[in-house]
């Protein structure tokens, strides 16, 4: 367990971008009609956003950031730190931060860090950037979290294709004398490295021309089991150690894995589904971007003028998980950009 708290940092903006191309799971050719109906009803995913081959996670995150720059009047020099969380970077190296720094025109003295994290990535990124601002004195930082997972799916795999979707997000964090304490509880279990994996393309198993493009494989039942085993105690511990009860929490924003898994978590934690906003139906599972996308889409308008206590919970590849208890709002959540 890594439970810790960071004071004096506020989230100011949560923006997101998705590809314009929307795919309806009822049109999927890799499933028969009845299976499609069952899938949509039980897994809860009807529409997914699929990026064309020339659109990367960095493009989506930059679009969300530029939208914020325009609406909020931010200038490149306003940001002293940049963190990019993705598992579908533009290149194996260098990391996405350098491309983003160049394209946004951020200062050469920007603190930059690329994080290879999946569905728990938003919470890991938030914890890391908040920690950087707190410890360095940098006033404002940009957290970019996004993936184009549809790019690494085997198109014949009916266990992954109907699930995954593409999105990017941009979250602005600032030091603030009035900033409340953010509580984090992060964890990982390396026995689960084979639960979700892209087997080829790294140094261990390079791609050769006979293997084709590397693709993601996922053991759905083991994802369910790891999630139940780790996420529930992780959130209970977060609440206990931060001194809050689940009734103090206005919303639980979970990673949008699938409806079966998410509803199982709600039930075991004793959370009503009204307190757990969902975007599975409209955006599917967008990997590390589900949490900011769900905040923006479901409660963004309310957050423009209100303050809420949120628990955020991400879990997946690794197997890794992380939760955060934060007070959020008023915060700017501009309309989701479509590119």
């Amino acid at each position: 367990m890594a439970f810790f708290q960071i004071p004096g940092i506020e989230i100011k903006d949560v923006a997101a971008a998705v590809p314009t191309n929307s795919v309806d799971n009822m049109d999927l050719e890799c499933l028969g009609y009845t299976d499609r109906m069952n899938f949509v009803q039980k897994i809860g995913i009807r529409n997914r956003r699929v990026a064309p081959s020339n659109l990367c996670a960095s493009d989506l995150c930059i679009a969300a950031t530029q939208h914020l720059f325009k609406l909020r009047g931010y200038h490149q020099d306003d940001f002293g730190a940049l963190i990019f969380v993705t598992q579908t970077p533009d290149y194996l190296l260098p990391g996405n931060c350098t491309f983003v720094q160049n394209r946004l025109g951020l200062s050469n003295s920007t603190y930059m860090l690329d994080i290879n994290q999946g569905c728990a990535g938003y919470v890991y990124g938030l914890a890391t950037l908040a920690g950087v601002l707190y410890s360095t004195g940098i006033e404002r930082g940009l957290l970019l979290v996004g993936d184009t997972v549809t790019r690494i799916l085997a198109q014949s795999d009916n266990t992954t294709v109907p699930i995954f979707s593409d999105a990017g997000s941009a979250t602005v964090l600032e030091r603030s004398a009035n900033g409340n304490v953010m509580y984090f509880n992060l964890g990982a279990d390396g026995t689960g490295t084979n639960v979700i994996r892209v087997e080829h393309g790294g140094s261990r198993n390079p791609v050769d021309k006979n293997q084709g493009a590397p693709y993601l494989s996922m053991k759905g039942i083991d994802v369910l089991n790891y999630s139940i085993r780790h996420v529930i105690p992780n959130i209970s511990q977060l609440l206990d150690l931060s001194g809050y009860d689940k009734d103090h929490v206005d919303y639980f924003v979970f990673h949008q894995a699938n409806r079966i898994l998410n509803e199982c978590l709600y039930k075991k934690l004793g959370i009503s589904s009204e307190k757990a906003p969902e975007t599975l139906g409209v955006f599917g599972n967008t990997s590390c971007a589900t949490i900011p996308l769900t905040i923006n889409h479901c409660i963004g308008k309310y957050l423009e003028t209100s303050t809420v206590k949120l628990v955020l919970s991400g879990f997946g590849v690794g197997f890794s998980w992380g939760s955060a208890l934060i007070e959020l709002g008023p915060v700017h959540c501009p309309d989701i950009v479509e590119i």
């Binding site: 039980k42 759905g220 039942i221 089991n225 139940i228 699938n258 039930k267």
Partner: protein, 83 residues
Amino acid sequence: MNSKDITTEAFIEDFKKNFDDPILEDISVSTRFRDLAEWSSLQALVVVTSFEDNYAVTLSGAELENSETIADLYSIVISKIKS
């Protein structure tokens, strides 16, 4: 939960509730669940989740993979409740 509380009949009734297919009336302990028309990776997830909900038992992907019949699933569930 006591494993004695779960008879094979009750287990089969619980198992059937995960399916929409009325043909499941004929299901028995010797039924090979993968032969069921409705069986799929999605249905496997539904069944494993129902074991969590009904019996607080976690069935791993490997355990499911190594099982053939309803009796195999029943044995795993009962042994996990006992332990």
